[in-house]
């Protein structure tokens, strides 16, 4: 019994369950990572990873501006990400990749303004930690009073994705088919982009603006390696994201007790590192499976050759876009 409790004490360092910041981080982190993962499944399918990252960058301008004028950064992130989503739709988010030079300049300018705001904000109020909080997030500094806001914003993003579930899948198969069936493809795209803006700004506050793409794309990309069914992919993504976020919180709390410095590592680091590990594991598992499938498929198709369905992957989706 003593060894078991010693091990448990090693894993759950003293004070973990009574700490108010940890309690808030578990609730907010759980909600945010769940929402990000569910929204992220469609981000990956629609090939909008870059758009997701851009929303995070634009949100940073708002988040740092909000910090400068002394309001809660969350509102800055949300407002700027929503405006960014609107602008992207206006200039054609589908063509974003061909216009990457323009996008790069605009995003660079956004981050430049963020740098200015953060500099002004931190030199005025002498709170250098704010830069780290805005760019890399910290779940341990969120006030308990903000929990309902996170939950409501998260639920609204989930509601939009739930409403658009079938049209989003159909559009992912072929926008032409969706259009011919009477789906308002453009409206669906705009609503989805707005839901993504909300999800990204929530994870900007918790995981950090720079790292938000990792939680948006990572669990979804891993889930899509593990299953070929839409409902299961969403369930897997949510499970992976919430588990890894809670594990990250646990490790970050424990790291205060780790030698040599005993000063605590950031939660975001642990979450993003865990996401990368899980993605790599899922990817290698699916490669093994697809090699096995390919052998079966070859037997099934006999001597037919040259199937366009067998084209190779061009690489993992923008996981490391940060």
């Amino acid at each position: 019994m003593t060894t078991v409790s010693a091990i448990l004490n090693g894993i759950f360092e003293p004070g973990l369950f009574t700490s108010e910041p940890v309690r808030v981080a578990v609730i907010v982190g759980g909600v945010v990572s769940l929402v990000s993962a569910v929204v992220g499944v469609f981000t990956v399918i629609r090939g909008q990873s870059f758009a997701g990252h851009s929303l995070g960058d634009l949100g940073t301008t708002g988040g740092s501006g909000a910090f400068l004028v002394g309001t809660n950064p969350l509102w800055g992130f949300v407002v700027f990400a929503l405006l960014g989503a609107g602008a992207m739709e206006l200039f054609g988010a589908r063509r974003l990749r061909q216009r990457d030079m323009t996008t790069g300049i605009v995003l660079g300018a956004g981050l430049g303004i963020a740098a200015l705001f953060l500099y002004l904000g931190t030199t005025q109020s002498n709170t250098t930690g704010a830069t780290i909080t805005i760019l890399f997030g910290s779940m341990f500094v969120i006030r308990a009073s903000m929990i309902p806001v996170f939950v409501l914003l998260g639920l609204s993003a989930l509601a939009v994705v739930g409403l658009l579930y079938r049209p989003l899948l159909l559009s992912a198969v072929s926008p032409d088919i969706a259009h011919a069936r009477g789906v308002p493809v453009r409206t669906v795209g705009i609503l989805y982009l707005l839901a993504m803006a909300v999800a990204v700004s929530l994870s900007c506050v918790t995981i950090g603006a720079i790292l938000s793409t990792a939680v948006l794309i990572g669990p979804a990309a891993a889930a899509l390696r593990l299953t070929k069914r839409p409902g299961l992919a969403i369930a897997w993504a949510a499970l992976i994201a919430v588990t890894l976020t809670w594990l990250g919180i646990l490790l970050a709390y424990d790291s205060y007790y780790w030698p040599p410095a005993r000063r605590g590592w950031p939660v975001s680091f642990f979450v993003v590192a865990l996401v990368l590990v899980v993605y790599l594991l899922a990817d290698s598992a699916s490669r093994r499976n697809s090699r096995r499938d390919a052998t079966h498929a070859f037997a099934r198709r006999g001597d037919r050759v040259g199937s366009p369905g067998d084209r190779g992957r061009t690489g993992p989706p923008g996981l490391g876009a940060g």
């Binding site: 579930y165 079938r166 899948l169 159909l170 198969v173 069914r229 037919r304 366009p308 369905g309």
Partner: protein
């Protein structure tokens, strides 16, 4: 409202009357008219850029004709058009899309509706029946991104058919298929037209694979169209008038070659014959 083209035979499903379309100052379609009947398979034949896809877009309501009418069973287009099933040309599927062939078919039932569908036994049986109808049971649980060209084509046909349309449009369904898959898909479409009594319109730049099953042909060249039976349309006088210059029509055993001599870019059939005839002719 009479049209000599549709006297007798099975009921008319779709009729285009004098359809012209201008897009950014160019006339893309000029006075195109033809009708499609239930149970008949029609080939929409023409080279790339002749206007085949535009005709599809007009039928689907994605383009509004500048002049002329598109009538569904004699009436204007219904608002929410479930009468038409559509299989586009290459759909450029993302290999990550988490859908099995059976999920793709199920999206044909209600993919345009909002909200999350509840699984039901009736739904599953409907999907199973449709998978069986296109011989897709063997790959029903395969991820759509991993299907071969022919398998994906059959899944998309099932997806289009499950909402029980009166008209099925297929844009170049035989492009990128190997010969065996090509024959399977053609046979499947002919069977569907007869068994389910729906009108099937297939676009192709090469008519020979469709010759054995085609009830009617709509031949398109530079935005104009001629329609009727193969014997009525694929003739030197008719096609020469359509192209606006002399065209040779050669019969080689049971195959037809259309040689539109003047313009180098206008005889894809000949190009294809050069590539494919020796192995096919001998084999």
């Amino acid at each position: 409202m009479t049209n000599p083209d549709r006297l007798g035979g099975s009921p008319e499903v779709l009729c285009l009357e004098g359809v012209s379309l201008w897009l950014s100052g160019r006339e893309i379609l000029h006075d195109v008219g033809f009708s499609l009947r239930a149970g008949e398979l029609t080939g929409l034949i023409g080279s790339n850029g002749a206007g085949k896809t535009t005709i599809f877009r007009v039928i689907l309501g994605l383009e509004t004709p500048s002049t002329g009418k598109v009538l569904f069973a004699g009436r204007p287009r219904p608002h929410r058009n479930r009468l038409v099933g559509y299989v586009p040309q290459s759909i450029g599927l993302d290999p990550d899309v988490p859908l099995r062939a059976r999920d793709l078919v199920a999206l044909g039932i209600d993919g345009d509706r909002f909200g999350i569908p509840l699984p039901s036994r009736g739904r599953r049986r409907l999907v199973d029946d449709m998978l069986e109808a296109v011989d897709a049971q063997g790959f029903a649980d395969t991820r759509v991104g991993k299907l071969s060209g022919g398998e994906l084509q059959r899944s998309l046909i099932a997806h289009a058919l499950i909402s029980q349309p009166k008209l099925l449009l297929l844009d170049e369904p035989l492009a990128n298929l190997d010969i065996r898959s090509e024959q399977e898909v053609v046979g499947l479409l002919a069977r569907i037209a007869k068994e389910q009594q729906i009108a099937v319109l297939i676009s192709a730049h090469e008519m020979n694979p469709l010759l054995p099953v085609m009830d009617r042909v709509v031949y398109v060249a530079s935005g104009r169209a001629a329609s009727g039976s193969t014997e009525e349309v694929v003739r030197e006088d008719v096609l020469s008038a359509l192209y606006g210059h002399h065209v040779d029509v050669l019969h080689l055993q049971d195959r037809i070659l259309v040689v539109a001599g003047k313009d180098e870019g206008h005889h894809p059939e000949l190009e294809r014959e050069r590539r494919t005839l020796p192995p096919r002719g001998l084999g």
